[in-house]
Amino acid sequence: MRWIGSLFGFLSGSVRDLTPIVLVIALFQLAVLRQPFPDLGGVLIGLVFVLFGLAFFVRGLELGLFPLGESMAHAFARKGSLGWLLSFSFALGFGTTVAEPALIAISEEASEVAAGAGAIVDTAAAREGYAFGLRITVALAVGVALVIGVVRILTGWPIHLMIAGGYLLVVIMTSFAPEEIIGIAYDSGGVTTSTITVPLVAALGVGLASSIEGRNPVLDGFGLIAFASLTPIAFVLLYGMLI
């Protein structure tokens, strides 16, 4: 009997997290569109998968991803080499972004937009080159973002001035950028940060802030992801202007 209780405890958080989405889909399907579910059995099996998946993921965060990010941050702080810390940050940002499936999808769509707008020649090779260039641009942007964010944690520069300045730059750049790149640029800020990168980067920031004297983990540890959502916009706008 005891394992039923612990299984329930393991899953209860995920049940709560998933209830809204189940309610919304059921409500719209049955009340607004007035249609039965096409494959109810498959949907129910899928929900069980989602439930267990979320429960395992959250448990794994606490056991693995958070401690890993934090202990690596502590180890870098102990080592005291700024060069290695910054190259690690850049590699983490660039490496996790360049292979991100959402980014690959969005850059392929973007290359079609660019070809349609006449910014590039409408051939498969030109589109492929454009999409690849865009992916590299966004990955560079995220790498640079983590470097800037880590430098901020080390120096304690005020985040709001940096972010506000960044957005001001983005707004100014928007008025010079070609029309068709704007939507893609703004979206690329949001898609870059994946489910595994976010906890790892958050743990890195928090670990650094807590191992440096005079830094508050909440005040200085968060904010890395904010830079990683901002720089891709500026970099992609620039890419659109240059090409």
């Binding site: 889909i25 998968f49 056991l63 401690p67 180890a75 949001g190 595994i196 990168t197 906890p199 959502s229």
Partner: protein, 273 residues
């Protein structure tokens, strides 16, 4: 049999997604830090849980949530449904007639954000570090409301065809203004919440909604107008999270003022006629 094939495909995709991260971590760990991490078995167990969890989660989403959600997005934005919403015979688009589209955008934005694993991670961390001063559940609800507002407003923008940068410009101005007044502790977290919200669950459903709308409405190009919903979904959580922090700070300071000055309160009650 199909489930097994799905499982293998999703596992392969997740592994190839995670591989670069593992390679970078391992390279720096082995060649630069060269110091053993504490509790390696526990770490490995945790990473295996994360991988297994993500694979199950993605498979389940593909099976249960995405087909239904995408079908609903395309049904709600089908030209016949939208035309009927305009009323018979009217050639123009009345943006307010699309009530169900906005309602769906709001509901799907809210509910997918609550289920977003990356947001769960960040809010757990924030609650732990702030010793409970930041409530994980409150933060997640604030972010979810922000995404909901963002996506329904983004759908409205696609319907009326207004330029994206006007909305974004006003939104950023609001964020900057709020930053000046919000409690300092919440500001970095609020900025982060913008990027955190849009990942595994939200993006595919929202993209389906945006593309469906842009395809159905005459004069909109799916390639140009279909983009931009994610940008809205990343912008508005910053605003709602700071609003939430301001509201809870205001409430806390009010109840503190009451609790700490009982005489004051009594005096003011006695003053009353």
């Amino acid at each position: 049999m199909r489930l097994l094939a799905d499982f293998i495909r999703t596992l392969a995709e997740t592994v190839s997604d995670v591989l670069p991260i593992v390679a970078i971590l391992a390279a720096f760990q082995l060649f630069v830090l060269r110091r053993a991490l504490p509790n390696p078995t526990r770490l490995l167990q945790g990473l295996a849980f994360v991988m297994a969890g993500l694979v199950l989660f993605l498979m389940g989403l593909e099976e249960a949530v995405f087909p239904v959600g995408k079908a609903m997005a395309s049904q709600l934005t089908a030209p016949e449904v939208l035309r009927a919403a305009d009323g018979p015979g009217s050639g123009t688009i009345d943006p307010l007639a699309y009530f169900w589209v906005y309602a769906f955008a709001f509901a799907i934005g809210f509910s997918t954000t609550i289920a977003e694993p990356a947001l769960i991670a960040v809010s757990l961390k924030a609650e732990e570090l702030s010793a409970g001063a930041i409530n994980a559940w409150g933060l997640r609800i604030a972010v979810a409301i922000g995404v909901a507002i963002g996506i329904s407003l983004g759908a409205f923008r696609i319907v009326v065809g207004a330029p994206l940068h006007h909305f974004i410009g006003v939104g950023y101005a609001l964020v900057v203004a709020q930053t000046l007044f919000a409690p300092r502790l919440i500001v970095p977290l609020a900025y982060d919440s913008g990027g955190v919200t849009t990942s595994t669950v939200t993006v595919p459903l929202v993209a389906a909604l945006g593309l469906g709308l842009a395809e159905s409405i005459p004069g909109r190009s799916p390639l140009i107008d279909g983009f931009g919903l994610i940008a809205f979904a990343s912008l508005f959580p910053m605003i709602t999270v700071m609003t939430y922090a301001q509201a809870s700070q205001w409430r806390a300071s009010r109840s503190r003022a009451r609790a700490s000055d009982p005489e004051d309160r009594l005096a003011s009650e006695e003053d009353r006629p």
